[in-house]
Amino acid sequence: MTTLLSTHGLVAGYGDMRALHGIDFAIGPGETVALIGANGAGKSTLLRAIMGLLPVAADMVTLDGAPVGGAAPHRMVQSGVAIVPEGRRLFAGMTVDENLRVASEHAATPQGTPWTQERVYNLFPILREKARTPVENLSGGQQQMVSIGRGLLAQPRVLLCDEISLGLAPRVVREIYEVLPQVTGQGTALVLVEQDVSLAQRASQRLYCLLEGRITLEGRSGDISREDISAAYFGASHALD
């Protein structure tokens, strides 16, 4: 497997508090990789560190083998890494159309068929109807669709998805997860941070489990047993009980 994006002994944190202690992570083109772990395990921190939102050393993150760690977020976008952030983070006061346009106007050079607003609307038809609505008037699920659309319009080669199912009705979660294969179908790699472990296992080819800032399990999603996951998820001492 060729590696698109990887981290090497990545350490990061907030102020004096270190949240990640040496993460080795890799993802190839078109691959879907899930990151699971309890709250505070460091999943979001890892995405933020990759995205350049936290200070890290240059060689801790590589894209196509080139060091990109600590580059400004907008530079990461331009080199093909985009994020669907936790909490959606839409631009309040702007319409659905404007939110999407900001992203497409600052996108990376597309590889293959570029994402257009039209294609995003085909993926989530409800957004076409709401194009002129200010985003704060949308439902949570619709807001999540805008956020994913924004991520896609950045024309990423790797899309980092931070808890895109959080707070949504099961039907909406299914709807969103159903479109993900269309994204990876054209070679975009997906990193899914997901609370729902079985959903993460089903949606991904490989998964990493984080515990207290360290990777405790890594492997093919289909091959990993429930026992392995719960041991990795809660820590060895807990599993031995």
């Binding site: 995205m51 939102l53 400004a72 977020p73 907008h74 976008v77 331009q78 985009a82 994020i83 952030p85 983070r89 839409l90 631009f91 309040a92 006061g93 702007m94 404007e98 939110n99 346009r101 900001v102 992203a103 106007e105 600052h106 996108a107 990376a108 924004r150 991520g151 950045a154």
Partner: protein, 286 residues
């Protein structure tokens, strides 16, 4: 009659204040910072313009055409070299840094241009007036008002309909999220400050033509800009424009009641708005 004349004079004065206020509203809207040198930059540009007219023998409109790009360059430089370092949640660093710069700038102007008041010769346009109904209205103040209206409309259109405007609104809504979709906040900020100080090029030319300027006048222009922005309500350029009109009218009417009360009337209206409608006149909710 007396009062109508006062109101008209006030609106015309408001045209000048609107040109101060636009840039401040823009900068606060996107960065949540106040550039304390805002007023001093008006004076600096005006003094540069006056010296330019003196040395190169150019007319006021050429001065205007020169000052706007100079202002934009100063603004860009100010943001790149200084303000980008202090943008953030804590208001203290940006305030104190620009406060210090303001003192340095005022005194540097004092060294270069002395404390004398100066003005920009307008080639007779200052005396021209037109008859509108029963009133005589100065041509220059009318030009200033029209210019202010066009600048406000233009800035509003830029914010609504251009790629830059969208990126600026995105950055003011959530700067980190904007960076995550590829917007470079520092570039957006630098352009915003360039626009803000570029507009001050208009304000400087007209201020120097309409009345006089001296190195220590800057704080007053800063305060007028600030009052206009707060009266009108934060976050909208037309709000700042209308706030400037209300400030101008308050001062003009106050001046008619008692010449010593003119400026104070503006402050009183500002405080009254803060007491009664703190979100400003044109903001829907706080």
């Amino acid at each position: 009659m007396h009062w109508i004349e006062g109101i008209v004079q006030g609106i015309l004065l408001g045209g000048l204040y609107a040109q101060y206020a636009l840039g401040m509203a823009l900068m606060f809207g996107v960065m949540k910072i106040v550039n304390v040198t805002h007023g001093d930059l008006v004076i600096l540009l005006a003094l540069i313009g006056i010296s330019l007219a003196d040395l190169a023998g150019i007319g006021p409109w050429s001065v205007l055409a020169t000052l706007v790009p100079i202002g934009a360059a100063i603004g860009w430089l100010l943001q790149r070299a200084m303000l980008n370092r202090v943008v953030g949640n804590d208001p203290l660093p940006s305030l104190i840094a620009t406060f210090g710069l303001s003192i340095a700038l005022q005194n540097a102007m004092l060294v270069v241009w002395s404390a004398n008041t100066r003005s920009l010769p307008g080639g007779g346009i200052q005396q021209a007036s037109v008859e509108i109904g029963p009133l005589f209205v100065g041509v220059l103040p009318l030009i200033v008002l029209i210019c202010a209206t066009l600048l406000t409309g233009g800035l509003d259109a830029v914010l609504r309909f251009t790629r830059y405007g969208r990126s600026l609104r995105a950055a003011s809504a959530d700067v980190e999220a904007a960076a995550m979709v590829g917007v470079n906040p520092k570039a957006v900020y630098a352009t915003a400050t360039a626009i803000a100080v570029g507009i001050l090029g208009f304000a400087a030319t007209f201020q120097a033509m309409r009345s006089t300027v001296a190195p220590a006048d800057g704080p007053f222009q800063l305060i007028y800009a600030f009052e206009a922005v707060i009266i009108g309500g934060l976050g909208s350029v037309w709000g700042a424009f209308t706030g400037a009109m209300i400030l101008g009218v308050s001062q003009a009417i106050g001046f008619r009641i008692n010449p010593g009360f003119g400026i104070l009337a503006g402050h009183v209206v500002f405080l009254a708005v803060l007491a009664i409608r703190p979100q400003g006149i044109f903001q829907r909710k706080s």
